[in-house]
């Protein structure tokens, strides 16, 4: 029991910290790219800004409109956040520092990552607001379009690694000497990142939020701490999907040439660095790209990404059998 509690506590704290770091990164990236002085200078050079943000949201009134489906409306943010935190359970920071090294780790991660969308959909549905509803439905449409390339992109890795455990995948990459992104999964990596961007609803695929169209999409009616939970889980999701991408494609907690016997010490640092680099790319994309249209996103998913990932699987399988 104590062990479970410790593990859950570790998960929550690690995921929350990751989210806060990514918030800082996003805000600082924005202020850097947009020449906005505020978040670079105020409060310890902008580093305690997320704290102020959290405090601000916590003390705000939690407004629940009269027409909403109350229980659904209230629980939707928690649902989104729990699915994010649970996702982190299978990410190995080092061979031993992993909450649950599941045999079917990849399968678990992909299954859990699509659960969050249900929370988004219920939030949109229960808000009794047409904009929220459209945001929620867009999120659902996006899920269907993007879950497939996401899974198919990972299948290539699974074929190459011959295991579905995330620790096993990393060990395989150590054994190979190079991460999978160099060793033949570059297409898979790109597809995974595009699909993951859509999954975490970030620019250029942020149509479920689409603030210039749908005011705030599925979050329109949320305020106070419930909005904060959505806000944090967005960054949490980003952090965890980046961590999974680094584990699957970039060699996880290990970099080539570093001695493997010390991996328990430098593992977390290496993984977090890789995650941060991926996160920075997402931040740079967010602040420099406009938003796609919903139908363009569907076209991209069904006409380009899914065929490309199928070809990727085929090529990987042929290479695997052939060599």
């Amino acid at each position: 029991m104590t062990e479970v509690l410790i593990k859950v506590g570790f998960l929550a704290i690690a995921a929350l910290n990751g989210a806060i770091i990514f918030t800082i990164m996003d805000v600082k990236g924005a202020s850097w790219m947009q020449r906005r002085p505020g978040p670079l200078h105020v409060g310890l050079r902008g580093f305690i800004f997320p704290l102020a943000e959290i405090l601000k949201f916590v003390q705000k009134e939690d407004i629940i409109p009269t027409e909403v489906d109350r229980p659904v409306f209230k629980w939707a943010p928690a649902y989104v956040m729990v699915s994010c935190v649970a996702l982190f359970a299978v990410v190995p920071m080092s061979p031993t520092l992993v909450v649950a090294d599941l045999e079917l780790g990849v399968f678990f991660a992909l299954a859990i990552s699509s659960l969050g969308t249900i929370g988004v959909l219920t939030a949109g549905w229960s808000s009794a607001n047409k904009y929220s509803l459209m945001g929620g439905l867009r999120a659902a449409g996006q899920l269907i379009a993007y879950e497939l390339p996401l899974i198919l992109a990972v299948v290539g890795v699974v074929i190459q690694a011959e295991t579905m455990s995330l620790v096993g995948i990393v060990e395989k990459q150590i054994e190979w000497g190079v991460p999978f992104v160099v060793g033949g999964q570059i297409v898979g990596f790109l597809i995974f990142m595009v699909a993951a961007t859509a999954e975490m609803m970030r620019v250029p695929f942020d149509m479920p939020i689409g603030e210039s169209e749908l005011t705030m999409g599925f979050m329109t009616e949320y305020s106070g701490i419930r909005f904060l939970i959505f806000y944090i889980s967005e960054y949490m999701n980003m952090f965890i999907l980046c961590a999974i991408a680094s584990t699957l494609f970039l060699g996880g907690y290990h970099v080539p040439l570093l001695p493997t016997e010390w991996v328990n010490f430098y593992g977390p640092v290496v993984l977090l660095t890789k995650t941060a680099i991926l996160g920075f790319i997402l931040v740079a994309i967010r602040w420099s790209q406009p938003r796609f249209r919903e139908d363009q996103l569907q076209n991209l998913a069904w006409k380009i990404l899914i065929p490309a990932s199928l070809v990727n699987i085929l090529v990987t399988a042929v290479m695997k059998v052939g060599f």
């Binding site: 947009q34 020449r35 169209e213 790209q289 938003r291």
Partner: protein, 398 residues
């Protein structure tokens, strides 16, 4: 009641094909008056089927301030403060046609220098308006960064306007018969009237070079962006015939391929002395409307640079009576504002103020095209098309 399991009926039912169409109802979506993308308080009542827009009705009037009626009880010099606030993004250019109309009725010949100063400031207002459009339009199609750059660049132009007129948005700088002495010019006496602040030419040259640079940057960073192209090319195509039929004017009309610019067609300001192009679009889609405006910024900057090089000397004010009374008559003066054609129809009965003032604003006519353009569009396109019209609600409702 028909029993479907009765052998006699079985045959009938097996032949009946299943042809049930899912009946969907259009959802009425109120976009605005409070909405991030309606530039103020425009309200669109849209009938949408999922993402598809079937029918749009613009509802106006939330911003109506009754300026035409107010003008009837104001004197001519007082009215410039009102008309400043019609299109607040380009406040200065609203004054020009009104003042020009009053001057035409009074048969006053405005000194060349005053005309040049008016022209420079009008073009600066155009630049600042197009900067706002550039930033806001990128925001509407989902790019969050350009607005900060656009606002920063616009600030340089506004600083110049402020240094001359004392106001950033509502300069109230024109007087019947000329312009007032500049704000930053220091102490003035009747003998020694300072018109432009010290260093104005130098600052203007620097700022205009920056405007040309900024326009170039926009062309590369926004216009060259693949996602932006996907969102705007072939979206909201407006043919020249429809545009003309609806009285659409300004950059929107030019983007549809009509080379119509009141700066060359009328003589309210001495544009014929300068050398500039009129950018024209080809397809009349959102991208062209955006493109025409960016090119126009460069042309405006060129006009300003030429104007400060060829600035004539002379008085700022023509001789006007102390109490301004406009003789009986009526006139209509139109001007090429950043948003399109702006016109003032002034009816004077010889009193201190106009008997009746009718303002023809560009945005009002431009918004009238919305139901035509939005039919069958997708919801994100609705925002993209609406943004590309670049209207200001003060200009729509007056």
């Amino acid at each position: 009641m028909v029993n479907a399991l009765d052998p006699q009926n079985m045959n009938r039912f097996s032949e009946a094909s299943v042809s049930v169409e899912i009946e969907t109802e259009d959802m009425t979506l109120n976009i605005g008056p409070q909405h991030p993308s309606t530039h103020g308080v425009l309200r669109l009542v849209a009938k949408v089927d999922g993402e598809k827009v079937h029918d749009v009705k613009p509802v106006l009037g939330y911003m109506h301030r009754g300026y035409e009626k107010l003008a009837e009880v104001r004197s001519y010099p007082q009215i410039t403060t009102l008309v400043n606030r019609i299109d607040w993004v380009a406040g200065f250019s609203n004054e020009i046609p009104f003042i020009a109309g009053a001057e035409r009725l009074m048969e006053i010949e405005v000194p060349e220098r005053a005309k040049h100063i008016r022209l420079i400031l009008t073009e600066m207002a155009r630049i600042s308006s197009h900067f706002v459009f550039n930033g806001a339009y990128a925001l509407e199609v989902g790019a969050l960064t350009p607005i900060f750059y656009a606002m920063e660049d616009r600030e340089r132009v506004l600083d110049l306007i402020e240094s001359v007129t004392g106001g950033r948005f509502h300069p109230n700088f024109n007087r019947i018969g000329g312009v007032k002495p500049a704000a930053g010019a220091g102490p003035t006496s009747k003998k020694n009237i300072q018109d432009l602040p010290a260093g104005f030419y130098r600052d203007t040259k620097v700022a205009m070079e920056k405007v040309i640079q900024a326009a170039d940057q926009f062309q590369n960073l926004i216009g060259g962006n693949e996602v932006f192209k996907k969102r705007t090319k072939n979206v909201g195509v407006l043919t020249a015939e429809t545009a003309e039929a609806y009285g659409v004017s300004g950059p929107i009309l030019r983007a549809s391929g009509v080379k119509s610019d009141l700066r060359t067609q009328t003589d309210y300001l001495p544009y014929d002395q300068f050398d500039y192009d009129i950018p024209v679009g080809e397809n009349g889609d959102c991208y062209d409307r955006w493109d025409v405006r960016v090119k126009e910024m460069v042309e405006s900057a060129k006009i300003v640079l030429q104007a400060i090089d060829s600035m004539p000397s002379g008085p700022l004010q023509a001789k006007v009576p102390k109490v301004i009374k406009v003789p009986q008559g009526r006139t209509y003066v139109r001007a090429e504002n950043p948003k399109g054609e702006m016109g003032y129809y002034i009816v004077s009965d010889g009193g201190l103020g106009p008997y009746r003032l009718k303002v023809r604003t560009a945005s009002f006519s431009n918004v009238s095209i919305l139901p035509i353009m939005l039919e069958g569009a997708l919801l994100p396109d609705l925002i993209a098309i609406m943004g590309s019209l670049d209207f200001v609600l003060g200009d729509v409702d007056r």
